[in-house]
């Protein structure tokens, strides 16, 4: 037990936690925006994969890293447009469409990767390096954890604050929440349900895709099959765990990331349990988290209810 405590007290552990947290936070925020407007987006896993590949390819072909992030967001937005079009104006099943989008995003990425990168050795790019915030990074312990991170980590946390502000403090946010809670009432108030939902899905999907791009542009420097490895699905559980609130999304994803970071370190430390049980931990914990909050929270009331004017 004391060894666990030793691990938790190091700065490198907390720095790793923040690093692991960032893609989860992007994904969770993206999914949260979609769901607050009443659209479940199960395409997340595939959209993150597409974001990871498109961001990486852009940089591999010579553009700079931020262009890569923008291209990833754009590709995510296109997938969001497709998911939104099928589920909002056409009102198709959000579950099944989402799975279709997810399969499409992943398979299209792997297809393009195989097609464009012919060599068997995986080429690499030069990823984002940590940005030291002057002065602040020199604070002992806290400095290296909070102020010596990849710029995308800063972006993830600022985005969470921005989403929280927009959702609760602006008319736009009110419209999003209203459309997600009671689409018919929102429509009666003159809010464009279709417009708001489409916008939410497009923006949300773009943010998810940046989460995917974080993996290839910051966490690793290459793309490979199964890169996203279920992170998208975990984000869907995290949205429920954070009871659809952006501020809690930070706490929830930090909590999960810290367990993941701990898991990696414990795995290296002792030869006790087989490594598979450590890898199972995030999935089992997601399930436990869902059970824990099941009785207490209820999601947006119009989630997964398609809206067709004049039809109940």
């Amino acid at each position: 037990m004391s060894s666990t405590l030793d691990v938790v007290l190091t700065a490198s552990f907390w720095a790793a936690t923040l690093r692991i947290c960032a893609p989860l936070l992007f994904g969770t925020l993206g999914e949260l925006i979609c769901e607050r407007a009443g659209v479940l987006n199960l395409g997340i896993e595939g959209i993150m994969t597409a974001g990871a590949l498109s961001g990486w390819l852009t940089v591999y072909y010579g553009a700079d890293l931020w262009t890569g992030v923008c291209v990833a967001a754009l590709v995510g937005a296109i997938f969001g447009l497709l998911h939104g079009f099928l589920t909002v104006p056409l009102g198709l099943s959000q579950h099944v469409t989402g799975i279709g989008i997810s399969l499409l995003g992943a398979s299209l990425s792997y297809f393009s990767f195989r097609l464009l990168i012919a060599s068997t050795a995986t080429p690499t790019i030069k990823p984002f390096s940590a940005v030291r915030v002057p002065l602040l990074a020199d604070i002992p312990l806290v400095g290296p954890v909070l102020f010596e991170q990849s710029p995308l980590v800063y972006l993830a946390f600022s985005l969470a604050i921005a989403v929280s502000y927009i959702l609760y403090r602006t008319p736009l946010g009110l419209a999003v929440r209203m459309v997600g809670e009671n689409a018919m009432a929102a429509d009666a108030q003159g809010v464009s349900v279709v417009g708001i939902r489409m916008a939410a899905v497009v923006v949300g999907s773009a943010i998810m895709a940046i989460g995917g791009a974080f993996l290839t542009l910051s966490a690793f420097n290459a793309f490979f099959v199964n890169l996203v490895n279920g992170r998208g699905w975990i984000c869907i559980a995290l949205v429920v765990f954070s009871s659809w609130k952006p501020a809690r999304a930070i706490v929830a994803s930090l909590f999960f990331a810290s367990l993941e970071a701990l898991q990696i370190r414990l795995q290296q430390g002792s030869g006790g349990l087989p490594y598979q049980f450590f890898l199972m931990l995030p999935y089992l914990l997601s399930i436990v988290a869902l059970i824990a909050v099941a009785r207490r929270v209820s999601g947006p009331q119009s989630l997964m209810v398609p809206f067709r004017r004049g039809e109940r």
Binding site: L92, I99, G100, S107, W233, M280, A294, R309
Partner: protein, 354 residues
């Protein structure tokens, strides 16, 4: 743009919808084949020949279709009752695990039951373990309102890691030269091959056809099947009509998870002979596509499973003949799913411009 419900949709339109959807999907994907620099028609031709051009390739397609029929039926049963079982992949591995366990204990079990019944015992065990894996999430849904989409999805990862652990440790074949796989199962558990030579088609395919037929009869001719459909159409309606909704949902879970478990038995006993971690190239997830293409109809599942299998087998042949990565199969199948959803919607609704 405005979406309006149709007053009626002719049967011919509903039957034509899947065909149109598949054609649209092939048309969309031809742009990818073109991007890969291959002549489109020739590429699709090599795909067709690769899938059904010879007895061996037909056998290969049907062998590949067999687990898809099972997972497709599993998903169709669950979706019809509005249980979103995305966990067929994990349930398939649970079934495979059960089969390996029964084969391991074959000697002791054979002392109790006759020798010819061993495959039945293995299939039963696979059904039970698959059912158990889905029962958990469905109980959580019914009792606590935990969303089953996420829990079944996550159960896939847990199951795969558990199998990975077993293959590294207790179940590892000492003779496998270090590969993580179980020892080959005893021939007494195996399913008979149907064709001579190298063709891999086995009796499991016939059982899959039988299963689809039985399920269809069960759906339209039994009280339990009727209740399952009623619960899917309207949960509150079914409850109001006095149906035991909770136990109906649990029955659906057992049936759906069990059928997916049988898919695992089928792969071990009919094709592979031992358990590895790459036994299923996503049969569980493809099962969702198969079930949706079939409009959740058991007989349709057989047809769409053969179609999806033909795409995968054909794409392998195509990627050998012309340089198109075989991931094209996954793209075609996922685009088919989306075009099918749109086609199905258009049979029930029409789009009006205002």
């Amino acid at each position: 743009m405005r979406v309006e419900r149709r007053d009626f949709s002719p049967l011919a339109v509903r039957l034509a919808a899947p065909g149109v959807a598949v054609l649209a999907s092939l048309l969309i994907c031809s742009s990818l084949i073109k991007a890969a620099g291959a002549p489109v028609l020739w590429a699709y031709w090599t795909m067709l020949v690769g899938a059904v051009g010879s007895l061996n390739s037909v056998s290969e397609t049907l062998t590949r279709a067999t687990p898809l029929i099972f997972t497709g039926l599993s998903v169709a049963v669950a979706f019809r009752a509005r249980i979103w079982n995305i966990g067929a992949e994990g349930q398939l591995y649970a079934g495979a695990l059960a089969t390996v366990l029964v084969a391991e204990e074959g000697g002791r079990i054979a002392a109790v039951v006759p020798h010819w019944a061993l495959p039945i015992v293995a299939a039963g065990a696979a059904f039970a373990l698959g059912a158990a894996l889905l029962l958990g999430p469905v109980v959580l849904k019914v009792k606590l309102g935990v969303d089953e989409v996420v829990t079944t999805l996550l159960s896939n990862f847990v199951m795969l890691l558990f199998v990975s652990y077993l293959l590294d440790g207790p179940f590892k074949d000492p003779m496998s030269m270090g590969w993580p796989q179980t020892p080959p199962v005893d021939a007494t558990v195996s399913l008979r091959h149907l064709l001579g030579g190298t063709a891999r088609l086995h009796a499991g395919f016939l059982f899959a056809l039988l299963g689809a037929a039985l399920l269809w009869l069960f759906n339209v001719r039994s009280v339990w099947g009727y209740e399952m459909r009623a619960v899917g159409l309207s949960l509150n309606g079914a409850r109001f009509a006095g149906m035991p909704v909770t136990s109906v949902l649990l029955r659906v879970a057992v049936l759906s998870g069990g059928i997916a478990g049988i898919a695992g038995f089928n792969e071990i006993a009919g094709v592979k002979g031992y358990l590895t971690l790459d036994m299923s190239p996503g049969f569980g997830y493809s099962g969702i596509v198969v079930a949706m293409l079939a409009q959740l109809h058991p007989v349709g599942v057989v047809i769409s499973a053969v179609f999806v299998a033909a795409i995968f087998v054909g794409a392998d042949a195509m990627s050998r003949a012309v340089a198109v990565p075989n991931y094209i199969a996954d793209v075609i199948v996922s685009v088919s799913l989306l075009t099918m959803l749109v086609a199905m919607m258009l049979t029930r609704y029409m789009i009006r411009h205002e």
